[in-house]
Amino acid sequence: MIAQYTCIAPKGDLLCLQKLCDKLSKRSFLHVNSTKVGGGVAEILQRMVPILNDLGVDARWEVIEGDDKFFEITKKIHNAIQGHPESITKDMWQYHFEVNKKNVEKLNLDADAVLIHDPQPCPLIEFKKRGKWMWRCHIDMSSPVKNVSNHLMKYCGKYDAAVFSVAKFAQAMTIDEFIIPPSIDPLSEKNRELTEEEIKATAEKLHIPTDRPILLQVSRYDRFKDPVGVIRAYKMVKKYNDCILVLAGSPASDDPEGAIVLKEVEDSAADDHDIYTLLLPPFSDGDINALQRIASVVLQKSLKEGFGLTVSEALWKGKPVIGGATGGIPLQILHGITGFLVHSIEGTAFRIRQLLNNPEMGKKMGENAKEYVRSNFLITRQIRDYLSAWYSMENKGKSFLEL
């Protein structure tokens, strides 16, 4: 399976991965999260676990179960960690713990290394028997609701290490804190190479004309993604450049605001037939892939963002990306090299005009973009980093290790 990544991932990453797997050969590595399908974590684990096994590590993936009440509570915890005002009562924390305790009866938590993903299964640490346990936080923890993060930290402090996506998400803790950005899988439906026919078929199916430059933003209809701001920027550009705007998002059943924001977007776009507001069904990865490939400029004009992996997805397709300077976006967009970081609607419009009027600049940035993702944001790098974290924990105190 790892052979599929030869000629795609950097040679050095693959070599390091092999060396680490040789060191950790036949050792057991367990991942635990709360969903088998849907979401970036499950998507990556579906690929990561077989790759690890292919390389000789005994990798497993367990999923905790919970009822609606449990997931309502963990959704609130998730929101509070990201800074939304939420109140988690003592009973709710107790229920969170009890569901985890009940899961322990069904889960096999025996492993040399255990990676627990996100807050839902975080209390499992109370049932640790052996091995190195790491808590992997995929969400933006830079400005959490304090009493919620403090409660969660009581569990986190019992782990051997924590893993965050970005340095600014890390906390003041007494355990090791590794910084491991998320990644994209270049072979997945969302990122694999497409034929001209496949791309054309998507454009035809979605009725997107390809006779003019396309500006694209792929994101949920969420105020933090500023879709209305994108429309305003497009309207500023339109005075100078004939282009079309595509906003592509999926309905989010767990987000009651989604429908309201979509309505605002449709109202803003109502008088312009060159704006395409798409509500794609779940699992539209192939269509998103095609849209990213036909776009001239990709936008991710977020006002607040976790990591914003859609940026890397577009960069991987050789597109310059204009993104809000927030969350993990500045890690992916090197200003002026792989795209532009912006701070306002006006700035967004200006950078779009720059790229539309300088196709050579866009092409060069696109080339840089693909290479930058190849070096930094592919799944092989993420697997390498997880194993490096585990191996360094086994060699605690050493900052220099020979493989």
Binding site: L15, F178, I179
Partner: protein, 225 residues
């Protein structure tokens, strides 16, 4: 020469980043933390700055932060002028960083604070080193290898090895001099400015100097292209 000859073994390094959970919002906090963080952390923010690719306006993360996040351009220029390879150890580098910031604070005693989220986040790394399976037994083999070896291997031998492995110079010039007796080639490599080139630029310079030397050894006249 025969007694000391060793082939050049290309290796590569990969670093994993660790947060130390400390951050600075202004220059006063920065100096306090620079004074107290681990040597590994200072190493990461200065010597390992180049592992992320060059941003040529700056030569270390403190300078980048002062210039881009604090908007203290004068200080950024002063910090960028610090050459970490000038110091015999990290304790001396730490002293120099503090001295430069203190001098600046004497002149501008009320530095601004960064916007929320633009703080300086202190980190350190754990570095894994491994052989890439390429060996050069002579200059011609080295020339072939340097053209095709992964860029991160060049980074490792040219930057990382100087300090992390306790060596005073880059691995290439050390090998040219000690194993091949090529002192003048070693000197040429040593003069490549580590702050002014991308990894690919460094590869090109090394290849050019080595090719000139190979041509000279073979008695070929005319410039290398």
């Amino acid at each position: 020469m025969e007694d000391t000859f060793e082939p050049f073994e290309f290796t590569q390094s990969v670093s994993i980043l660790k947060s130390i959970g400390r951050k600075a919002r202004n220059l006063h906090e920065l100096t306090t933390l620079i004074g107290g963080v681990s040597e590994e952390s200072l190493f990461y923010h200065t010597y390992q700055y180049f592992s992320k690719g060059h941003i040529l306006e700056y030569t270390n993360e403190f300078a980048y932060w002062a210039g881009e996040n604090l908007g203290e351009r004068i200080l950024a220029e002063h910090l960028s002028n610090i050459d970490p390879y000038d110091f015999k150890d990290i304790a001396d580098l730490r002293k120099k960083l503090l001295e430069v910031i203190d001098e600046y604070l004497k002149e501008f005693p009320e530095p601004r604070e960064v916007l929320p989220g633009d703080d300086f986040y202190f980190s350190e790394t754990v570095t894994m080193v491994f052989p890439v399976g390429i060996r050069a037994g002579n200059l011609a083999e080295f020339l072939m290898a340097i053209k095709y070896v992964d860029g991160s291997s060049i980074y490792h031998h040219f930057y990382e090895a100087r300090r992390h492995l306790g060596r005073a110079r880059d691995d290439f010039s050390r090998w040219f001099e000690t194993s091949l007796g090529k002192k003048s080639l070693a000197e040429k490599i040593s003069t490549i400015d580590p702050f002014m080139h991308t990894i690919e630029g460094i590869r090109a310079h090394i290849a050019e100097f080595v090719e000139e030397e190979v041509r000279k050894d073979m008695g070929v006249t005319g410039g290398a292209k």
